[in-house]
């Protein structure tokens, strides 16, 4: 049960109901706060915050420790493990999802900050046998090696192509008030928030270009 400390006010740090998966947000920090957690355990109270999310078109009601990032909510509470945890600090882009149509790093935002929002993850973009243009192009152009960064690359690129269609300029666009051509330089700049440690970059750029041409 959520503990309502005040109107719209919730407290983190409590125990989760028995059998709940441990929020990964607490991995690595448990030892430091053992005393604190122990105290909460003695109280045997839970302090989740209620959050309603629409994930890939399905409404979800979650009760989460406020510390739970959107990424951990997806992976550990909803079983949507397509979004990957790379750096967990917004540097690698493996966790990229779309919130209300915009790409963001799901590791750098709390799930409870997104009450009422619509989230699209890689699971909502395509399925085996029914791939999106980008997914097909990543396969045909060999846009990956190990594949760990791929869901983030595809979520990011899906939203990035929407940004281009909306006329958003980038750092490398010459004319801020004109349209940008989707050159290699433009794709690289716009995708710089997604790292690929296998360095499949040339093929990722080709895949994005191919998908963009197909949709154009």
């Amino acid at each position: 049960m959520p503990i309502i400390v005040g109107p719209n006010r919730f407290r983190s740090g409590g125990m989760l109901p028995q059998g709940s998966p441990l929020p990964a947000a607490t991995y690595g920090t448990l030892h430091a706060y053992h005393g604190l957690l122990l105290q909460d355990r003695i109280n045997s109270e839970t302090f989740p915050v209620q959050t309603h999310l629409t994930i890939n078109g399905t409404q979800q009601r979650l009760e989460l420790d406020p510390r739970t990032t959107l990424l951990d909510a997806l992976r550990h509470h909803l079983g949507l493990t397509g979004s990957k945890k790379g750096c967990d600090h917004g540097q690698c882009g493996a966790c990229t999802v779309m919130v209300n149509g915009r790409r963001i790093n799901s590791c750098l935002t709390l799930a409870c900050m997104h009450d009422g929002d619509e989230v699209t993850t890689i699971e909502g973009i395509g399925q085996p046998g029914n791939l999106s243009d980008l997914q097909e192009a990543f396969v045909s152009e060999d846009g990956f090696q190990c594949g760990y960064c791929t869901p983030g690359q595809i979520c990011s690129a899906t939203a990035m192509l929407d940004e281009v269609r909306s006329g958003w300029p980038s750092h490398v666009t010459d004319d801020l008030t004109g349209d940008a051509a989707l050159t290699t330089e433009e794709i690289s700049e716009r995708m710089s928030g997604n790292l690929c440690r296998c360095a499949a970059y040339p093929n990722i750029v080709e895949a994005i270009r191919k998908a963009a041409e197909k949709t154009a």
Partner: protein, 328 residues
């Protein structure tokens, strides 16, 4: 991450009241949550201000723009009015972070983001900004990215924002509201504090004081550019950056609004540099003199010594570009 109490603010009144009681505002969270995961910051209470209606860009009566504090970096960079009339701001925003981060980071949060000094992030090391009185590991440490202007013996951290540098060149004004409902307007120079002996204090904002908007004055004549020099071509903080608004008339410089990033604890602007340029005919000798003035009190700390010549060359290059363009 340490436990905290979480509140969804319904109004600026409740948000500022909670913050006056010790809570910390959270908007985009892209910097704050990063720091909370590392426990560099550990607020006991967060006030989520994302539902407040501070996400609009409106034209002001005098031809300027009022940018709500919750306007994302993407929305601001892509606003057609900003792209047309304040391109230096659009350029600065697009030069910062990544597409994902710009979609989440807000105008107010960008102004208040913390330094990326490695020692501020490393809790095993002394840092007067993180832990006042503990000392500064950076002065004799790995200080390649750190400041050469406005430093103190207690701190040599830089302010990492690109957006704020452009806003400083554009004479932007920050609007705030306090928990007692009173409002005030601050120019960016007055918003930020130099480190002195209290580098943990970064702005003049009081507990509970919320940035509600940034106001850009009406557009001015002249050429604008944002030049950012960094270790990689994209998605990196500035080693040196220059925001410039330069106007020419009859072969002479009539305006030279210049702000510098990556070199100081706050977006840096030096009125003496600008006074030296205005009224003069552009020449390399003049630009070198401007750089002399800018760097008169600059001090490197070893690994960042290169920033002195780099700042000089970037300034000369930007002035050359802007005055050449204005002549054609």
């Amino acid at each position: 991450m340490r436990p905290f109490e979480y509140t969804r603010a319904q109004s600026t009144e409740t948000a500022t009241r909670d913050a006056a009681g010790g809570a910390m505002f959270i908007a985009g969270g892209t910097n704050l949550l990063d720091l909370m995961k590392l426990e560099v910051m550990a607020p006991a209470e967060l006030v989520d201000i994302n539902r407040l209606e501070l996400d609009r860009i409106e034209e002001t009566e005098d031809g300027g723009l009022r940018i709500g504090a919750l306007v994302t970096n993407s929305d601001l960079a892509n606003d057609t009015r900003v792209r047309r009339d304040w391109p230096v701001l659009s350029r600065a925003l697009l030069a910062g972070a990544s597409g994902q981060l710009r979609n989440k980071a807000t105008t107010g949060g960008n102004l208040l983001q913390r330094t990326r000094c490695l020692y501020f992030y490393d809790r095993a090391m002394a840092c007067n900004k993180r832990e006042p009185g503990s000392g500064c590991s950076a002065r004799e440490g790995f200080n390649r990215i750190l400041a050469i202007l406005g430093t103190s013996e207690h701190c040599i951290a830089t302010h990492p924002s690109d957006m704020a540098v452009a806003m400083r060149a554009l004479d932007a004004v920050v609007e705030t509201v306090k928990d007692d409902g009173s409002t005030r307007r601050l120019n960016l120079d007055d918003l930020y504090l130099l480190p002195g002996d209290r580098p943990d204090r970064e702005t003049v904002l009081e507990p509970g004081e919320l940035i509600t908007a940034v106001v850009l004055p009406a557009p001015v004549a002249g050429r604008q550019t944002y030049r950012k020099v960094r270790d990689r071509a994209s998605y990196a903080f500035a080693l040196v950056s220059v925001a410039g608004v330069v106007a020419m008339e009859d072969g002479r410089i009539t305006r030279a609004d210049l702000a510098f990033g990556g070199v100081a604890p706050k977006p840096w602007r030096d009125p003496q540099v600008e006074a030296l340029l205005v009224g003069q005919t552009p020449s390399e000798a003049l630009f070198e003199k401007a750089a002399d003035q800018l760097l008169a009190e600059a001090e490197g700390f070893g690994a960042n010594d290169f920033k002195l010549p780099l700042t000089r060359r970037t300034l000369v290059s930007v002035l050359t570009e802007l005055t050449q363009e204005a002549r054609t």
